[in-house]
Amino acid sequence: MTLRNAAWALGLAALIALPLVHRDPYHLHILVLILIWSFAYTSWSVMGRFGLVSLGHGGFMGVGAYVTALLWNHLGVTPWIGIPVGMAAAGVLALIVAYPCFRFRITGHYFVLVTLALSGIVLQVITATRDYTGGSLGLTPNRTRGSQLLALQFDDKITWYFIALLVWVVGLLIWRWIDRSMSRYAMEAISEDEDAAAAAGVNVTAEKLKITLISALMTALAGALYCQYQMFITPDTVSGISVSLQMVFAVIVGGLYVSLGPTIGAVITIMLAEILRIGFGTKAVGWDNLVYGVLLVVFIIFLPKGILGSVLDRWKTQPEKPKV
């Protein structure tokens, strides 16, 4: 166990030290993107690992990003207030949709379809309110001159790298906290058999709502950070069904049941997109998603535990050498 902690500490130290040694802006940009999306994927896996497969996370992310940007652009509210407001809005949305689902035992297919519709609707609302949000053309938060802490706008990549790293670590800590809490046992019981869990004294609705709320708040934060970093959002990049599916895809490829699985998923998906972009240029439009789609299907059929999950499994179940 100490070996494991040491490995974690060493990895983290390496990540902190990295920008001090290597300052290539393009590489840092890719790393920041990987960290922000890893955080988003981790927040999806917080509920996804308990069989609560939501395709509504694109919606939560869109709410987080757009509420923050709209408050800044139209009311001049600093993102330091805007981000919590955006997270709260996503949380309320999550509760409004999730409460009837959980209260009335809407699970499995039904739950997926309801959340799927949710992300579709958020996309429609953003597009419909084009007078404020800019519709499908996207939205750019008003620029400040130079870096400003109050506006959460920084010109240099290194600051963003540390912000993204911090948030990513917090995401992993939340994952671990849930992994070690009573909620995990409750949620695992619920995902096996809701009635049996209820009979054993688990408050099914409350437990599920708690996990959903945490997951939605985290996703909204990821959306707001993405917006602040990229300084440009469109409905299609932060909300909608394709973003939701992208989260599912990355988590499943990386590994749903291990803490670093979503991160591995983010590394693989973003590297894949970048390699295709560099290799094929503008001809590659659409190709990355084509590859994602094929990989998603292949993974679900042949490797449902994901890359990291399967590797760890094999490592753990390595048969011990027979003692002679």
Binding site: G51, V53, L55, I96, V97, P100, C101, R103, F104, R105, I106, G108, H109, Y110, V112, L113, V114, L116, A117, L118, G120, I121, L123, Q124, V125, T127, A128, G240, I241, S242, L245, V248, F249, I252, V285, G286, W287, D288, N289, L290, Y292, G293, V294, L295, L296, V297, I300, I301, P304
Partner: protein
């Protein structure tokens, strides 16, 4: 004031009728999805994307290869039916014993594949058939001929499926499998074959819908996203696998969209429909016509 009310009523009536016409095509989509869910217990997340591929099929057959519309339509229906069967054979069949969520997510992967395939192969331009059907003036109300045709064809399609299910041996077998998957295999029904046929029928219904939708809407790789979510809402509201519930729910939603669009933008019609859906979940969580257990 009186004059204003008269005009308002006519618009209202027009919106109501247009809602019914829209409901026909939505009901057709819901029927296909429900059929597949009812028989195979799988939800095709990519259903609307099959329709998109069908719309491209129509576009190429009519605009590029200069087929007449009536000849292109059956070809497209067959194409999408084959696509549905292939989807089942390649993706769903290996996952039949996997958790349902995995099957559903695999079709989500197919959604990605179809969308990006269309982007790569056809580009992101909006395309249409270039067929302009006349507008039917009925008193002071105007209805597009395309919508009337779609409504009629959708009804014919649904009746054909109904007759197939009720009158033929294969249809009876499909209904039996929907009732009990395990037992029918013991009774000597080849469930694999039934699944394949059902998938082809589901695909065929998507193909028919694409022939009808292409008359009214431009086709682009992401067109599926504009009616996919609403189809899922309809199926859940009607009760997944419940044909009759899906049929009624389609018209309810179409009216909400049409009337909502009358007072504001079309997008708000969709938002209104979703709000209605959430409220209905509180009242009838297992679908409109679920029996209370």
């Amino acid at each position: 004031m009186q004059g204003f009310l008269d005009i308002f009523d006519i618009y209202l009536l027009e919106a109501v009728v247009n809602g019914i016409l829209l409901g026909g095509v939505l009901a057709l989509l819901a029927l296909g999805l429900n059929l597949i869910f009812g028989v195979i217990d799988v939800t095709w997340i990519c259903y609307a994307e099959l329709v998109m591929i069908g719309m491209y099929g129509m576009y190429y057959l009519v605009q590029v290869f200069h087929f007449p519309y009536w000849a292109a339509a059956p070809l497209t229906i067959m194409l999408v039916a084959a696509l549905g069967a292939a989807l089942h054979y390649i993706v769903i069949a290996p996952l039949l014993t996997a958790p349902p969520i995995n099957q559903l997510l695999a079709t989500g992967g197919v959604l990605f594949i179809l969308q990006s395939f269309a982007t790569v192969a056809f580009g992101i331009d909006f395309r249409n058939l270039g067929i302009r059907l006349p507008v039917l003036a009925f008193g002071e109300m105007h209805f597009s001929y395309a919508r009337l045709l779609s409504f009629g064809a959708a009804l014919v399609g649904m009746i054909a499926v109904y007759l197939f299910m009720k009158r033929t041996f294969t249809g009876t077998a499909i209904r039996a499998v929907a009732q009990d998957r395990q037992i029918m295999a013991l009774m000597g029904v080849d469930t694999k074959r039934i699944y394949l046929i059902t998938s082809a029928i589901g695909g065929g219904l998507a193909g028919l819908a694409s022939c009808l939708l292409v008359l009214q809407y431009d086709v682009h790789p992401f067109v599926g996203l504009s009616f996919g979510p609403i189809t899922f809402l309809i199926c859940v509201l009607g009760g997944l696998g419940n044909f009759f519930g899906g049929f009624i729910a389609a018209f309810v939603f179409a009216e909400i969209i049409s009337l909502g669009g009358l007072f504001s933008d079309l997008e708000w019609g969709y938002v209104l429909a979703f709000a209605f859906f959430i409220v209905m979940m509180f009242i009838r969580p297992a679908g409109l016509f679920a029996r209370r257990s």
